[in-house]
Subunit: 176 residues, 2 copies
């Protein structure tokens, strides 16, 4: 989604050396459409270059993040995801299944820049705009769960299905 050169130049400009390994990480990030985790980056590279080390992946991602060239998107502490899309956009993040979807819309960052430097001397580099809520699938799942719960409370309302109780009697909260 990003130009590999943009990422590599960010490294060069900041005085980091451009090695083969870093080049591969940048290429991977440029190629991918999604919001990969460090492990996905590793997996995507190691199959063609089995000698690369996990530590190097983490190092490179950390450097790129500290430069603001890629942006971390956190949700539900399972894994870290990186946003590699440099174009202004908004992430739709599902609170339940943690899926991240890009939504093309811009945000008037330019207008804020001057204010920030005025107020606290903050030097903006990039931004992250996420809307948190429920994706369509999870809305449906939620409805089904609530219905289920209700049905469990009112077993008599149902014609011929006494066995239903035992079957779906999972722990309700946390559908993950």
């Amino acid at each position: 989604m990003a130009q590999p050169d943009v990422l590599l130049n960010a490294l060069r400009q900041a005085g980091y050396r451009v090695t083969d390994q870093r080049r591969r990480v940048c290429e991977y990030l440029a190629r991918t459409q999604g919001h990969p985790t460090p492990y996905q980056v590793y997996a995507g590279i190691v199959e063609k270059h089995p000698d690369i080390s996990r530590a190097t992946i983490y190092n490179t991602l950390n450097v790129l993040r500290e430069l603001g060239a890629i942006v971390e998107i956190g949700m539900g502490s399972d894994h870290t995801h990186y946003d590699t899309n440099p174009a202004p956009h908004i992430n739709l993040v599902c609170l339940r299944c943690h899926t991240i979807t890009d939504f093309p819309a811009s945000f008037p960052m330019e207008s804020l820049g001057p204010m920030l430097t005025q107020v606290g001397g903050f030097q903006p580099v990039t931004a992250r705009v996420d809307i948190l809520g429920f994706c369509r699938d999870c809305q449906a799942r939620k409805r089904a769960e609530i219905q289920d719960a209700w049905r469990r409370q009112h077993p008599h309302e149902i014609a011929n299905d006494e066995s239903a109780n035992d079957e779906h009697a999972g722990n309700l909260p946390n559908g993950e």
Copy 2:
């Protein structure tokens, strides 16, 4: 920063029981001004209520997050931070020292809502707007580092300081 009642009501409405432990977590979140980590929440409560368990803290925070009542802010994978401020605002996140500062400014979420539901059936609950960059202190530190590096490259330019080389010869990248 939030009303404890708002958080408790969120739990109640979603069908969760309001226990003493959950009440304490909500109170803590309401009281705090910053962006606490789970451990900080735990530490802040355990001193008065030594019987509370870490697992309960995590459970409660996870539930509140899945409800969108509090918002996770990720930076540099060390710790998870939670944003407990329900008022619209922007977080200034330093890419270097990971400090998070609130910046009072609103974001025209309302205008986006309808679009989102139209496009992907996404049901928005809350939002997170972060500007990533460098705080004033880290800008200064960065300048100093660059100067240092330069001085190390050009030792002859300096009058009387040959020892400087060995002294500060740390690993340059990663000032953390």
